[in-house]
Amino acid sequence: MTFEEDVEYFKSIETELAKDHKGKYVLIKDKKNQGIFSNFEDAHKEALKMFGLTEVVIAQIETPQPLNYLATAQ
């Protein structure tokens, strides 16, 4: 499974997850929900414990928090 597939998997299950976990953080790896967490840091720690130094997707469920910027970044 690739990182991009995990991102797509999260998008496909986000609405369903939001029914019970809106605002929480989900850890996705290999197109599986590996756990729900209260914050980014806990999800990151668990990801390191479970998968070591590999790419995972940690995402907040249905809470739009864009890391937007207005500087002249392209």
């Binding site: 840091e41 130094l53 928090q65």
Partner: protein, 169 residues
């Protein structure tokens, strides 16, 4: 409480009218204000992997990347920390998700990472765990954007008339 004061000095290098081909250093009290208006608030930051990743690397006897120091723009338009791709590559950061970035050019998705951030040469508090978005700042003099997620802990005094900025936390 930590504090840093940034003073844009009013010294400027100009062609010397009395010696063609030579330059002279002149003091212009307005230059500091002009400099600040043109560049914004820029300070050096040290960036490295977050503390949890550092612990895993150490436990596995893998090299922990040294912190790299880069100029950063204090950007009230940014909600969180953003790093140039060159910083991401230099630290071998591992992707931890994606974030949506709203830019002047439209919406885009960026990779997200976790890092630690400190401010060398100042007493400002460090941040051992921050999320950061990857952006392209290749053509900029700064390689990092410090957003409101960090600024929410700061008191910033910006004197545009004199070119002085102070940041306290």
């Amino acid at each position: 409480m930590g504090k840093v004061t940034i003073v844009k000095l009013g010294f400027q290098s100009r062609p010397d009218p009395n010696n063609p081909g030579q330059r002279q250093i002149v003091f212009d009290p307005n230059y500091g204000a002009i400099e600040l208006a043109g560049q914004g608030i820029i300070l050096n930051v040290a960036i490295t992997v977050d503390n949890w990743t550092r612990a895993v690397l150490s436990a596995q006897n893998q090299p922990v990347p040294n912190a790299i120091v880069r100029p950063a723009l204090v950007d009230t338009g940014a909600s969180g920390l953003a790093l140039d791709t060159s910083v991401v590559h230099a630290l071998n950061l591992i992707r931890r998700g994606t974030v949506n970035c709203q830019t002047a050019g439209g919406s885009r998705t960026s990779n997200m990472y976790f890092v630690s951030l400190s401010f060398p040469g100042t007493q400002l508090n460090s941040y051992p765990f921050l999320r950061a978005a990857e952006v392209d700042l290749a053509n900029m003099s700064f390689k990092c954007l410090i957003g409101r997620e960090t600024m929410m802990n700061w008191h910033i005094h910006y004197n545009g008339q004199t070119g002085h900025v102070s940041i306290a936390d």
